[in-house]
C-alpha cells in the first residue's frame, strides 16, 4: 500500500520557511549583540586611548617646559660632555713617548749607542752603533724577549755593518705595541 502524506505541500513549505525565519532571527540577534558589544567595546577602548593620549600630551608639554627651563644647564652639560669625550679619545689614543723611551732604555746594552731614533705612525726606527756584535745580538734579543714583546713587535734588523775598528753600525725597526 502506498504511503499517505497527510501534510499538504503548503504546510511543508511553511515549515521550512518558518525554520529559515527562525534561523535568520537567531543569526540576526547574534549579529546585533555582537555588533553592539563590539561597538561599545571599541568606542570605550577608543575613548580610553584618547584620554591616555591627552594625558601623555600633557606630560610631554609639562616635561618640555621644564626641560626648556634647564636650557642653560643643558648647554653647559652638552659642551662639557662633547669636549671631554673628544679629549678622552685623544688621550686614550695617543702614545706616551716618555714611557716608550724609558722602557726602551731597559733593553739597551751598555755598549750600544744611538745616533738616530725616529718614532712615527706606530713604528720606531733605531740607528746606532755597538761595540761588538754581541751587544747588537743582546739588544735584539732583549727587544724580542717576553718583556720586549710587550712593547715591540715585528723587530727587524734593516742593516748591520762593521768598520775596521770592529764597531757595528745597525738599523733596526719595530712596531710599537699600544699600551
Amino acid at each position: 500500500m502506498a504511503d499517505i502524506n497527510l501534510l499538504s505541500q503548503e504546510d511543508t513549505q511553511y515549515e521550512s520557511f518558518d525554520a529559515l525565519r527562525k534561523k535568520l532571527s537567531v543569526l540576526s540577534v547574534i549579529l546585533l549583540v555582537v555588533s553592539a558589544v563590539a561597538t561599545l567595546g571599541t568606542l570605550a577602548f577608543y575613548t580610553s586611548l584618547v584620554s591616555t593620549r591627552d594625558k601623555i600630551i600633557l606630560r610631554v608639554e609639562d616635561a618640555s617646559a621644564k626641560v626648556n627651563s634647564y636650557k642653560n644647564v643643558e648647554e653647559l652639560a652638552v659642551v662639557t660632555k662633547e669636549k671631554v669625550q673628544v679629549a678622552s679619545g685623544v688621550i686614550a689614543s695617543r702614545s706616551d713617548q716618555v714611557k716608550l723611551f724609558n722602557a726602551l732604555s731597559q733593553f739597551v746594552p751598555q755598549n750600544v749607542s744611538f745616533s738616530n731614533i725616529r718614532v712615527a705612525q706606530g713604528k720606531i726606527v733605531l740607528s746606532g752603533s755597538a761595540k761588538t756584535s754581541a751587544d747588537v745580538a743582546s739588544f735584539i734579543s732583549a727587544l724580542t724577549s717576553a718583556q720586549g714583546a710587550k712593547m715591540f713587535s715585528g723587530v727587524s734588523v734593516d742593516s748591520l755593518t762593521s768598520d775596521e775598528q770592529g764597531i757595528y753600525t745597525f738599523g733596526i725597526s719595530a712596531t710599537i705595541i699600544k699600551q
Binding site: N5, S8, S28, Y70, A77, N102, A120
Partner: protein, 253 residues
C-alpha cells in the same frame, strides 16, 4: 489519495505576512553589518593608529622625563667648573698663540733650546666653526673636533727632552706629539724634530632636538676634569701684553 498533491488556492495575505516576517531578522543583520562596517572597523583602524601614536608619545615623554631627571640632578656650580676645565682641555678656538706660549714656557722650564717653531700654514687663520677647518693641515678629528699643528726643532740633553715632552703632556690642553726624530748633536746633546697637534672644538651652534638625551659624564671623564680643575685652569698660559707704538718701523729689534 495523496493529499500533498492537492492544490489549494494561494492566499495573497499569507505570502505578504511571510515576507514581512523576514524583514526584522534581515533588517537586524543588515544593521549589524552596517554598524560593523561603518563604525567598528573605522574605529578599530583609528585605534591601531592611536595605539602607535600613544606609544611614540609615551617614549617621547619618557625620554623627556629622564632628560629632566639628569638635568635637575646636575649641580650648576660643579658644572661651571667642569665647563671651565673642559674649555682648558679642548679650547673653543685654535688658540695658536697660547699653544706657542705653552711651548715657550715648557722649553724655558726644562732648559731646551727651541731651534725652530713652525706653525703649519692654515693653523692660525680661519678660526671659528667646525665647518671652517677643512683647509690643509687642520684635519678634523671627529664630526666637530679639529687640530692645529706646530712643528718644532729643539736642541737639548736627552733628559731635558723627556722633561719637555712630559711637561707638554701635563698641560691642561690636550695635545699629541708625533713624528719624533732624535739625532745626536755633539756633546751629550740631541737634536729633535717633532710635531705637536693641539686639539680644539668649536662650541655647538644648537642643542638639537629637545628630546636628545643629555649623557652624564663617566667616572673617568669626571676624574679627568677634576685633575684639570685641581691643577688650576688658571695655569693655562696667556699671551702677555706688550707695549704698542713704534715710530721707526724699520729700526732693528
Amino acid at each position: 489519495m495523496n493529499l500533498s498533491t492537492l492544490t489549494l488556492p494561494k492566499i495573497a495575505g499569507v505570502e505578504i505576512s511571510k515576507g514581512l516576517s523576514l524583514i526584522a531578522p534581515i533588517g537586524g543583520i543588515v544593521v549589524s553589518l552596517i554598524v560593523l562596517a561603518f563604525i567598528v572597523w573605522p574605529k578599530y583602524t583609528e585605534i591601531k593608529g592611536l595605539k602607535s601614536a600613544n606609544f611614540e608619545l609615551e617614549t617621547r615623554a619618557g625620554s623627556l622625563e629622564s632628560k629632566l631627571d639628569v638635568l635637575s640632578s646636575l649641580d650648576a656650580s660643579v658644572l661651571e667648573k667642569q665647563v671651565a676645565a673642559s674649555g682648558a682641555l679642548l679650547p673653543s678656538d685654535k688658540d695658536v698663540f697660547i699653544l706657542i706660549r705653552q711651548i715657550e714656557n715648557a722649553a724655558a722650564s726644562t732648559g731646551i733650546v727651541l731651534s725652530k717653531v713652525e706653525v703649519v700654514p692654515g693653523s692660525i687663520n680661519a678660526a671659528g666653526g667646525a665647518g671652517a677647518v677643512t683647509e690643509a693641515n687642520t684635519v678634523p678629528l671627529s664630526s666637530s673636533a679639529s687640530k692645529v699643528q706646530v712643528r718644532l726643532s729643539i736642541t737639548s740633553g736627552y733628559a731635558s727632552l723627556l722633561s719637555f715632552i712630559s711637561k707638554m703632556y701635563s698641560g691642561a690642553r690636550v695635545i699629541n706629539i708625533e713624528d719624533i726624530t732624535i739625532g745626536t748633536s755633539g756633546e751629550s746633546q740631541v737634536r729633535t724634530a717633532f710635531s705637536i697637534d693641539a686639539y680644539w672644538q668649536a662650541l655647538p651652534i644648537d642643542l638639537g632636538s629637545i628630546e636628545k638625551p643629555v649623557l652624564p659624564l663617566t667616572a673617568s671623564e669626571v676624574e679627568l676634569l677634576n685633575k684639570i680643575g685641581e691643577e688650576g685652569v688658571s695655569s693655562v698660559p696667556t699671551v702677555p701684553e706688550v707695549p704698542l707704538g713704534r715710530n721707526d718701523l724699520f729700526a732693528p729689534l
